[in-house]
Amino acid sequence: MPIFSFLNSGFLAALPLASIPVIIHLLSRRRLPEVQFPTTQFLRQLEPREIRRLRLREILLLILRTLAIILLVLAFARPSITPRNGVTTSAAAMAVIIDDSESMAGLDEQAKPRMEGAIERARALVLAARPGDEMTLISATRPVGAATEHTSDRVRLGRSLANTQVTMLPADMAGALLMARRTLERSRLKDRELYIISDLQRSNFDAKARAELGPIAAAKVRVYLVPVVQSRVPNHALVDLDPVLRPGPMGRGLELRARVANYADAPSDRIAIRVRHGDALVGGGDVTLRADESRWTAMPLDWRGTGSDSSQSSGAVLIEADQDALAPDDRWFAVLGAPGRLRVLRVTEPREGAASPRFASLALDPGKDGRSGFVVDEVSPAGLLGLTKSRYDVVLIEDVASLSTEGEARVRAFLRDGGGLVVALGPHSDPGYYGSRLFPGVIDLGLDGPEQAAAGGSYELRARLPGHDVLNGLNVGVGAPLTESRLTGVMKARTLTTRPEVVVQTTGGLPLVATSPGVAVFLSSLSDDWGDLPYSGAFVPLVRGLVSYAAQADAQGPGSTRVGEAPAARLASPPGAAVIVRGPESYSSQASVRAEGTAYRAEADAPAIQPGFYDFESGGRSIATVAVNVSPVESDLAVIDSDSLRAASGSGSSTLGSANALASHLRDTRRGKELWMTFLLLAAAALAGELLLGSARTLRA
């Protein structure tokens, strides 16, 4: 029930002023004065009907004048009404989630730091707290570790707020919401409010976080979304890096591949990327991306002048992209391994007594010298018994009818060890074997058998997922043909679950390339049995793409550690003394060491809180360096639709879209909604009505 009150009730003493128009009216009506006039021949006597009309108008004018004075006096008395969600008469328990994730280091639409806006809003909440109110400040990145106690001490809350800073961690919104609910449920106060001060990134509110909003609504907590931005700010980011250096084009030089993403609704400008080794600029490139596109970009490296051997180059490098709205994700720290070659075991069957064509081998290693970055061994299915992860990175099974039980077991063990698998299903492959024996547990793909194109017809290869790693090196759009070559036959297949990705398909929608992590299946022949694909320009990048994609199952190099995770390093030998990990901003932590296969794994006890290089030291000597980078979860600055969040958090929730809206909300709910402006406008309207009515002619001429 709304409560009506006056904040300056002393002004109500002026209400008798409203009687002034009445008194004047009564005095003027007492007796009509007589006026001597030279002649009355030009005057007209008022008719009774006109007099009645004038009297009515006078009464209306009198009412308007009186009303205007009353409204004016009431406006000065500052009337206020307590809204339904007001807490004017009782203390409130408040939980304030402050998003201090990496994305808050970005700028808002006015190029102002987001965190600044968040602190400003949180401070407004602290200042609005009244004696008896209780408040908890909860960090969105470390809900358990960095929450203040539930207190009504505004000084302590203000001090805690002053120490709040942006972290390089991703937001744990589900954890923060859980923390807020538990805190509020423990409060003895009945009025409970939850304020979420955040840039409301879509990526922060996953299903888990949204599921936490339901119990909060059930606990009768009013949820207020306090966004510090309203719209998606364009941002590009470095989101991944292949830590293995590859030979450059035509086998010359080295190149490094970084994955760059454009989180925007429009194409990016040209993004320049630089690779630094210490202070030296050792490489770079540029890329232009479509809206919401991410792509691997190869950057040639030039180590001359750095004192490093180009053939054995390795070490810590910093990759930098042009800075934009969010700076932390424009840098990537990496510790590069020695230039590597992918070791491929190609498994084929002789056909009609002759060796099968070597198109795939030629595509991977044309000079048979490994300068292309691929080293290929060729064996028959019986040779699979020699397949181990220590010898090969990828096994390519090309148009083999079926595998022996031992061979199949060896392939599965190879996959478990992190090896990659590429399968090409040509006319000699047995779909029943692959569909029911090899693929289950490897890739969710069902096979229906070979299908030939109608007489005179053929199948085109069309990209379905451009930008996929398999298509790296083929600059194609959605639905664009990869090549002018045609296939005359395909192995008809279907995906059994949503997990496999169909990267390439035929014009009729039949899958041609399907992938699962570490596995790539080409549903046709890599030879010229079914068409002329090996003779096309797309063949070499496609085969290399298939093999490279499969090899990435093991590509989790040292650069993949994220902020918030404990830095870990693989050691070839056990350290002679205790391991200490040192990192940026005075980070220092003990590390525990355990055996892992034939090697050892050292893992810091404390999580990394900043991106950068972390040194593992033992006995005062550096034994390993790992790179830690920010999570790409924070890079997409798209804002979640607040309506959907409100729907999840019950009818008591609302959005306070600006600092002014928050201030107004606090004023209304703490002191009541002030209505002086409404009364003032009504008084003005009454005066305007009086003027209009007073100046209007009501009598005929």
């Binding site: 006026v35 030279p38 030009f42 009501t698």
Partner: protein, 298 residues
């Protein structure tokens, strides 16, 4: 303009002076001083004096004899000699007693008549006066001596407002009695039947008189700026009308304007001069109109 006007032409100032003969003289002298070229000191038949020739003076008035004898250039100046006979008709009806700003219409008419009489006598015109209202009328026949000013001013000082405006009987009888043609100056608020006013003017015109009508109204009669609802009492008939000025003001102004237009129209038709005046206007306009009319007559 009003800032530079001689105070003696301001009706409010003049009304504070008590002696009508003095005020009439002051008004006329003030008026004449303000004129750039005096029509009063003109060139007529009777020689008045010599004055030294000034560049720009017309050569036809140069005294050639004096020039031949003394080799000095003198201009001959003459006093006007006319046989103009003027009759000032002053309305003294009750409605003339109305004044919203301290000066009644009768005060204004009285002062204007006095000034005109003084001016006429200074120009050697014969001036008479006729004060009229229903049931009372006083006549002083025209004479041209300066001493004639005294009875005229005495009559004017005696005048009090009363009775109704009666053009029918008063003016018709006067028209019959004025045998020699001359100038008839009517000073009135003309609050009578327009047809009767028209007939009276027509009567004078029929007798070959020139007619100059000064229509004197109070500013409030024109603007009707009253604010409050009131009972308005007719000064002549006693009729009472309850009305609201705010509501009827536009209607009133339209009627008064139409009435003045009607008066002007029949004055034009009868070839009489119609000069609308309000009591807040200076006398110089009326005096100028008179001099202009006189100039056309002579």
């Amino acid at each position: 303009m009003s800032e530079r006007r001689p105070r003696l032409l301001d009706p409010h100032f003049v009304s504070k002076l008590t002696r009508l003969d003095l005020t009439a003289r002051l008004v006329v002298e003030g008026f004449l001083t303000g004129l750039h070229r005096s029509p009063y000191h003109g060139f007529s038949v009777e020689f008045a004096e010599h004055r030294q020739y000034m560049p720009g003076d017309p050569l036809r008035h140069l005294d050639w004899r004096v020039l031949a004898k003394s080799d000095r250039k003198y201009i001959k100046q003459y006093e006007e000699e006319t046989n103009l006979r003027a009759m000032l008709l002053v309305d003294t009806s009750a409605s003339m007693g109305y004044g919203s700003r301290g000066v009644t219409k009768l005060d204004y008419a009285r002062q204007l008549a006095a000034a005109l009489a003084y001016l006429m006598l200074r120009q050697n015109d014969a001036v008479g006066m006729f004060a009229f209202a229903t049931g009372r009328a006083e006549l002083i026949p025209p004479r041209s001596t300066l001493g004639h000013a005294r009875p005229l001013l005495l009559l004017l000082e005696r005048l009090t407002p009363g009775g109704a405006t009666d053009f029918a009987s008063s003016l018709h009888s006067l028209a019959e009695r004025m045998t020699r043609r001359g100038l008839v100056v009517l000073i009135s608020d003309l609050l009578d039947d327009p047809d009767r006013i028209a007939q009276a003017i027509h009567h004078f015109r029929h007798r070959k008189h020139e007619v100059l009508v000064f229509h004197v109204l109070d500013p409030q009669e024109v603007a009707f700026d009253f604010e409050r609802e009131a009972v308005y009492v007719d000064l002549e008939t006693g009729e009472r009308v309850t009305t609201r000025p705010q509501e009827l003001r536009p209607d009133y102004r339209a009627r008064v304007s139409a009435w003045r237009d009607q008066l002007r129209q029949f004055c034009i038709e009868k070839r009489a001069e119609y000069v609308p005046l309000t009591t807040d206007q200076p006398y110089d306009r009326a005096l100028l109109e008179y001099l202009s009319k006189r100039a056309r007559l002579l």
